[in-house]
Amino acid sequence: MTGFIRYFFRALLLVAVQVYLLNKVPHLHRLVLPSLYFVFVLWLPFSMSRTGLLFTSFLLGLSVDYFSLTPGLHAAACVLIAYLRPYLITILMPRDTQEFQYPEPAVKAMQWAPYVVYILILSFVHHFYLTFLQWLSVGSFWSFLGKTLLGTLISFLLILTADLLFPRQQSYRTNTA
C-alpha cells in the first residue's frame, strides 16, 4: 500500500513538473522540447505485471495529454515503451538474477552501463514514436529527426540529473527478512 501511495505521488509530481515547468520553459529553439514525465514508466517496479505496466503507462500518458491538449499522443508513446520494457530488462540484466535484489530499475540495481543503455533506448523509442505521430499531421523530415535526437539527448540528461539529485532509497532485499 505504501508502495502504491509512493508511486501515485511520484506520478503527480512528474506530471506537474512536465506540465507547469518543462512545457513552459522559454522558447529556445523549435526542436528543443524537454520531456521528463515518462521516467515514471522506466522507474516502475520490476515485479509489476505486464498488464499493469500497460494500463499505468496509458493513464500517465493520457493525463499529460489532457493538459497539453494532444489526446492520445503521449499515451501511445508511453504504452509502447511500457510494452518494450520487460524485453529490454531481460536482455540487459544477467540471466541468473531472476530474483531481483532491488525493487525498481536504478543505477544500484542494474549497474551504470546497462542502466544508461536502458534509459537511452527507451527515451529514444519514446521520442521517435511521439515525433513520428506528430510528423504524420505536420512538419518536415528534418524537424522530425532533429526533434527525436535532441529530445532523446535532453531527456537522457534530465533523467540522469534527476537520478543524481534525488537518489531513490532502495532497500536491499534478502531472504532473511
Partner: protein
C-alpha cells in the same frame, strides 16, 4: 472457439498493447480532425480547475506588462468618450423631416472578459485554456483578443466552465488579415519555427511595402472584428516562383505572457457562415449548374 480463447490467453499482453495503441490513435485522429476527443469535456473540467489554481501564482509575475496593456487600451477608449467632443449647434441647421433614426446602430460584436489559465508557445500546435466556458456563453469559433485589443486566437473546444483556444501560434491557424495602409488582404499563418514570426501570405508583389507596416484583422473575417491589431511587418522577401511577397510579421501580442483576454462573439456569424455555405452549394452543385 477453444483455440480462440487459447490464442487470447497466450497473447493477451500483445493484444492489450494493440488495443491501447488503437484507442490512442483514435483519440489523436478525432482530435486532429474535429478538435474532439472522448472524455475531453470531463478532463477539461479537472485540468481547468488545477490550471486556474496554478495561474493565480503565475499571474503575479506578469502584472506589470498586463497593467501597461490595460492602460493603453483605456487610453484609446477615453479618446472615444462623447465628452471629448462638442455638440453641433442644432439651431443653425435647417430642420428636415427625419423618418428613420439614422443614429441607431445594430450590435454586431459582444465582448466577454476571461483569464488565460494555461498556455504554451514551444509546441507546433499551441493552445491556451481560459476560465470561461459554455455556462458563461462561450462558444466554438469565437475570436480571442488580448487585453490591449490585439488578436491572439480562436476558441476550438468548450466545456461547461472552461474553454480551449487555438493560439495564433498553431500551424493550422489561418486568420484573414489585411494591411492597414492599403486594405489589401492576405492570410496570416505560422510555420512553427519561432513565436515571434508569423507569415503573411497572398500579398501581391506589385504592392509597395515597408518594414513596420501594420497588419490588422480583415473585414472579411467571420470571427475577428475588423481592424484589430495582428502585428507589424518585420522582414520582407520575394519568392521568385510566385507573384507574392513573403512577409514576416511580428505579432502584436506577446504570447508568453497572456493573462486577461476578451472573447468576442460575432452575432451575425451563423448567418454569414450559412450564406457562404448556401451560395457555394448553389453554384457548385451539379444539379443547379446550367448546361
Amino acid at each position: 472457439m477453444r483455440n480462440v480463447l487459447l490464442f487470447i490467453r497466450r497473447y493477451h499482453t500483445f493484444l492489450l498493447f494493440l488495443l491501447l495503441q488503437i484507442i490512442s490513435w483514435w483519440f489523436l485522429a478525432s482530435f486532429n480532425r474535429f478538435h474532439e476527443a472522448r472524455f475531453l469535456t470531463a478532463a477539461q473540467e479537472v485540468t481547468g480547475s488545477i490550471n486556474s489554481r496554478y495561474d493565480r501564482v503565475e499571474d503575479f509575475f506578469q502584472l506589470r506588462a498586463e497593467n501597461e496593456r490595460v492602460h493603453q487600451l483605456n487610453d484609446s477608449l477615453l479618446q472615444l468618450l462623447p465628452a471629448n467632443t462638442l455638440l453641433v449647434d442644432t439651431q443653425q441647421i435647417e430642420k428636415e423631416e427625419i423618418t428613420l433614426d439614422s443614429v441607431k446602430r445594430l450590435r454586431r460584436y459582444v465582448y466577454r472578459p476571461a483569464t488565460v489559465i494555461y498556455n504554451t508557445v514551444n509546441e507546433e500546435k499551441n493552445y491556451f485554456q481560459i476560465d470561461r466556458g459554455s455556462a458563461q456563453g462561450i462558444r466554438e469559433n469565437m475570436a480571442v483578443l488580448n487585453s490591449d485589443g490585439s488578436a491572439v486566437g480562436v476558441i476550438v473546444f468548450v466545456s461547461p466552465n472552461f474553454a480551449q483556444a487555438m493560439s495564433l501560434l498553431h500551424v493550422q491557424q489561418r486568420v484573414n488579415a489585411a494591411l492597414k495602409k492599403t486594405g489589401d488582404f492576405g492570410t496570416l499563418e505560422w510555420d512553427g519555427a519561432h513565436p515571434d514570426r508569423l507569415i503573411l501570405k497572398g500579398i501581391p508583389k506589385s504592392l509597395f511595402l515597408k518594414i513596420g507596416d501594420t497588419v490588422v484583422t480583415s473585414t472579411y473575417s467571420f470571427n475577428f472584428p475588423p481592424g484589430k491589431m495582428l502585428g507589424t511587418v518585420s522582414a520582407l522577401s520575394t519568392d521568385k516562383r510566385t507573384n507574392f511577397h513573403v512577409i514576416e510579421v511580428k505579432p502584436a501580442a506577446n504570447f508568453r505572457n497572456l493573462q486577461q483576454v476578451f472573447v468576442v462573439e460575432n452575432l451575425q456569424m451563423d448567418e454569414q457562415v450559412n450564406l457562404n455555405r448556401e451560395a457555394r452549394k448553389r453554384i457548385e452543385d451539379p444539379k443547379n449548374r446550367k448546361p
